[in-house]
């Protein structure tokens, strides 16, 4: 969960990674996770977690769009008139997503086909608008980049964990590599079956629900008061 926090801590000076800036990255990983706490970006998060590979590609796409978008909007924040800021944000997001879509089509065509419309839906991914609106509009470029990075990492680890379980139990493999050996399957004399339920959409919701349960029972300050 907190592996990503070690890297910035290693270089103390510079001020670029001051305590406050480091918090921007570490907070979204747990206490302020975009998916399980802020409830942002669930729309595209669940559908593409059937395979770990898709989840990784999706996370990288979101990372690129959020970090670059945060920086651009933060740089332009004094030029964008308040009344049309949503449209300005949407246009910047749509431009970046178009670039990501073209890059994916060029380099990982298979994945791009499977991820399909969900790349386009990054535009309306609430993480994007949420971070643009809540952070980049009111902060300098560098903290905005870190905030984008932290939030997309927080998004990424949930995605990868969900995809890990769905691929492991649903297809018996991880990143396309077979983990559960062929020989235990019922088709070759064993007694094992893939749990096809895991591939279907509803199980993604249940797994996220369980992740939320585990996270909140360890981090009790996140519990909602009824």
């Amino acid at each position: 969960m907190s592996t990503a926090t070690a890297a910035p801590a290693a270089k103390p000076a510079e001020g670029l990674f001051s305590k406050k800036n480091r918090k921007l990255i570490t907070d979204p990983l747990n206490d302020n996770n975009p998916i399980t706490v802020q409830v942002l970006g669930i729309c595209s998060a669940l559908a593409i977690t059937v395979k770990v590979q898709n989840a990784v590609v999706m996370s990288l796409s979101v990372l690129a769009v959020v970090v670059v978008g945060n920086m651009v909007i933060s740089a332009l924040r004094n030029l964008i008139p308040g009344r049309i800021r949503i449209i300005a944000q949407l246009v910047i997001a749509a431009g970046l997503v178009t670039l990501v879509d073209i890059v994916l089509k060029a380099y990982v065509y298979d994945v791009s086909k499977q991820v399909g419309v969900y790349v386009g839906l990054i535009i309306t991914n609430c993480i994007l608008m949420g971070r643009y609106e809540a952070f980049a509009m009111g902060n300098k470029v560098w903290p905005s980049a870190l905030d984008g990075l932290g939030n997309s990492l927080g998004y990424a680890w949930i995605l990868v964990v969900v995809a890990f379980f769905r691929e492991l139990f649903g297809s018996g493999s991880i990143m396309g590599l077979r983990v559960i050996p062929e020989s235990v399957y019922a088709t070759s004399g064993g007694a094992y079956f893939n749990n096809n339920m895991m591939i279907l959409p509803p199980m993604a919701l249940v797994i996220v629900g369980i992740i939320i349960w585990i996270q909140r029972s360890r981090n009790t300050k996140l519990i909602e008061q009824a």
Binding site: T36, V39, L40, G41, I42, C43, S44, A45, L46, A47, I86, I87, L90, V91, A93, A94, G95, V97, T98, D101, I102, G116, V117, G120, L121, I123, T124, N125, C126, M129, L200, P201, P202, M203, A204, L205, V206, V208, G209, I210, I212, W213, I214, Q215, R216, S217, T220, L222, I223, E224, A226
Partner: protein, 204 residues
């Protein structure tokens, strides 16, 4: 017949929430009471029903490869499909704004009911999702696209009203504290999704 088929399929089988998880953010945030859920659901049906046909026209007469041929032979080769995302989201944002103004002017009662939800809808994934699915599935005419849009809207409406009703009742049940609120809503949505899968394969 085909239109009815598309409509029913969009409601039950390709349900926006249970099959594609579109619009989950507002689905989770605005489903605490049935009354607000009804308002948002109605607004989604309305906006989907307006934006998808407009985007359909845009896709088929401007963006698609060769779609500009009505402007003259010189344009027959033009392919603007890389602009699809920007155009679709601009159309959605503009129409939502327009709809808000029209409703405010001519139907103040409706505005009172839908008012605060309309701006939220511009960033609801199900609206852009509707446009992108319309593009992907290549409906053969605008009636089919509209029927798909209305079906998706009704499916979304049913989902959010159902979960809101369940969450209202849930207030009286004893859920483990860490699972309260968000966690149990996720799991319930999953269970409802499994129930909706019973509709798979229905054809009229």
């Amino acid at each position: 017949m085909n239109l009815v088929n598309i409509f029913v399929k969009a409601i039950f089988i390709d349900n926006m929430i249970f099959a594609y998880f579109l619009g989950m953010c507002s689905y989770l945030a605005v489903s605490k009471t049935v009354k607000t859920a009804l308002g948002l659901g109605a607004a989604v049906i309305f906006v989907l029903g307006v934006t998808v046909p407009v985007n359909y026209l845009l896709e088929n007469y401007v963006l698609k490869a060769g779609a500009l041929s009505w402007m003259g032979a010189g344009f027959a080769e033009v392919d603007l499909s890389f602009l699809a995302f920007i155009m679709f989201i601009a159309v959605v944002a503009a129409i939502v704004q327009l709809v808000e103004m029209i409703v405010e002017k001519f139907a103040p009662a409706l505005y009172g009911a839908l008012g605060i939800f309309l701006p939220l809808i511009a960033v609801n994934c199900s609206i852009l999702g509707g446009a992108l699915f319309m593009q992907e599935r290549q409906y053969s005419n605008i009636a089919e696209a509209t029927s798909f849009a209305l079906g998706s809207g009704v499916g979304w409406f049913l989902a959010i009203v159902a979960i809101a009703a369940i969450r209202e009742k849930l207030r009286y049940s004893d859920i483990p504290a860490p699972l309260r609120g968000l966690g149990i809503t996720f799991i319930l949505t999953g269970l409802m999704g499994i129930a909706f899968m019973a509709f798979m394969g229905i054809k009229i």
